[in-house]
Subunit: 343 residues, 2 copies
Amino acid sequence: MPRTNKKPATITDVAIAAGMSIGTVSRYINGYEVKPANKERIERAIADLSFSPNALASGMKSADSRMVGLLVPDYDEFHAGLLGNLATTLAQEGLVTLTYCHESNSAVAKEAMRFFRTHRVRALIMSWPDADRNDITEMIAQGVQIVTYDNIIDFAGGDRVVVNNREASFKAVSELIRLGHTRIGAVTGDLRRWTAKERLAGWRDAFEAANIPAPEDLIFPCDWYRADGHRAMEHFWKMDTPPSAIFAANYQISLGILVFCQENDITLPDDLSLFSFDDVEAFHFSTPRVAAIGQPVHDIAQAIKARLLENNKAKRPATTPISVVDCAVHFRESIGPYRPKSV
Amino acid sequence: MPRTNKKPATITDVAIAAGMSIGTVSRYINGYEVKPANKERIERAIADLSFSPNALASGMKSADSRMVGLLVPDYDEFHAGLLGNLATTLAQEGLVTLTYCHESNSAVAKEAMRFFRTHRVRALIMSWPDADRNDITEMIAQGVQIVTYDNIIDFAGGDRVVVNNREASFKAVSELIRLGHTRIGAVTGDLRRWTAKERLAGWRDAFEAANIPAPEDLIFPCDWYRADGHRAMEHFWKMDTPPSAIFAANYQISLGILVFCQENDITLPDDLSLFSFDDVEAFHFSTPRVAAIGQPVHDIAQAIKARLLENNKAKRPATTPISVVDCAVHFRESIGPYRPKSV
DNA sequence: CTGTTAGCGCTTTCAG
DNA sequence: CTGAAAGCGCTAACAG
């Protein structure tokens, strides 16, 4: 049985059924005033035909797809949350969110750009600093708004939404210092990224504020993944004076650290204190629960939305090109007072 | 400074630059053969103009938006994974995935339907049994393919992709029985849902196979959330003979149970064994790690994709309207041998 | 293999 | 406030 294929009703069908011109129907649909009597007839016709306007056609004619693109590196907990919040909040404005995951792969990211361009997104939200310059330039020239989050990328005309990475990191590390730790490792993530630099700067700030020289030998530059956290611990644990506490620049790194601790019977916080950037569900159910800096994904989504609307409703340029969202710093049981290593 | 608004190049621009008709260019774009010399000129023109085809226009003309809708109840770990896998794998076929989250709210779900209809998705993927009948009927009539996952919903013409809920649950509960447990609680989730029924059926099957009467008093019907898991434990822990093991129908319920155990110093697996449906990251980092049935989100996405392509490439109806994907059953340290309660 | 042409469904002038 | 008409960028016949 071939699928029935009754084509959807068009605005013309509605106009005929309602006995008026498509212009009037179109205006009604788009929220302009029409004579009450006409309004009623249109509404009935729409219901009878169960008409729904064709977004493609209207987007094409009005040269506005009402779609925005979100380019993420990964569908991890943070990005899933961001996508969810964003898609929901933007839907309220009649905007559609298209996602693409680049997996930190340039070829895939290139493909994503092609995808977004093809779909004529009116804005592109991303944190990818290695985006092809030509694509970006082209998109900006065509009026596509570029919003970067969680990263500072130097595009002319790009809006930015970031969290207070440095300050939040400062608070976390300061707490570790207050607890008596001085050998505090920093597992930094990818230091080519602004985020990583800022988080490390917060680590340094904390030492400076405490008038203690920062233990530069405990900086472990790496990538953002579990394997990196694990490798960091392998490295640290071979040292003569290993760190008594660790500040990890994202949650995946922390998970790698936790795995290493499990494997090597390292007990938190007695043998090691751990403070993580990013707060995820796993941290609430581990023993002990992991102290963490939570990125308020809801607020980030709202800030992005604000930028999107601001830049499209009023035509004035944004007052400030950068929005800063504050993180919550959660002290939990994975951090404890410094205790000299028992021999 | 108003945004520059150089309009994107059109296929006509390309045709002019390449010195030929738009028909030829269109054919080249869509993968038909063109004379090599022309091909080369088209490619150069496209590069020069940095042209990208307008998906809206082509979708409109060809009456195929190449978009599919995914309606999820929540952006939890499972659905985020599903979305990620699906979006990625479908993008390879040139298909776009639009998401909408209904939050188990009928009004929002209704809005979602309007959204998907408006965007002329060629398929709708969902697990929502309370969808408005009219919307569904209308969409099916218009040739929209409906694929349900993780649920059996009785739509004429709907494709279904499910996991082997009953069998996997049977395996999990059987293991608990093998470990000596007989008082095994079932926290079922919403029993109006097929999934919940199947998982409970698996629980029953295990007792039957072991020739033990199923402890019907340990069935706790509820919803799917953390609070439900917590409430279940409150209930169980007041019993004269509480369960020595629990089978939880999803991960959120299990997290609620874990919280209760933390609060009441219940040690897994000594005081209680726990087996959960759904496998999430938190279960790998809790102490002990939680035994769980993992839904292979990658395979589910592939199965859905297969249905989508099958039903659209060849016009024949699917051989079987239902695909079953096998779950992995992970035995972990949250389950242990039955030990009579110490008094 | 290529050029020509007729729309897809809608918005948006422009006159009334 | 409404109707008529001109396309938006592209695809899909059709005739070469």
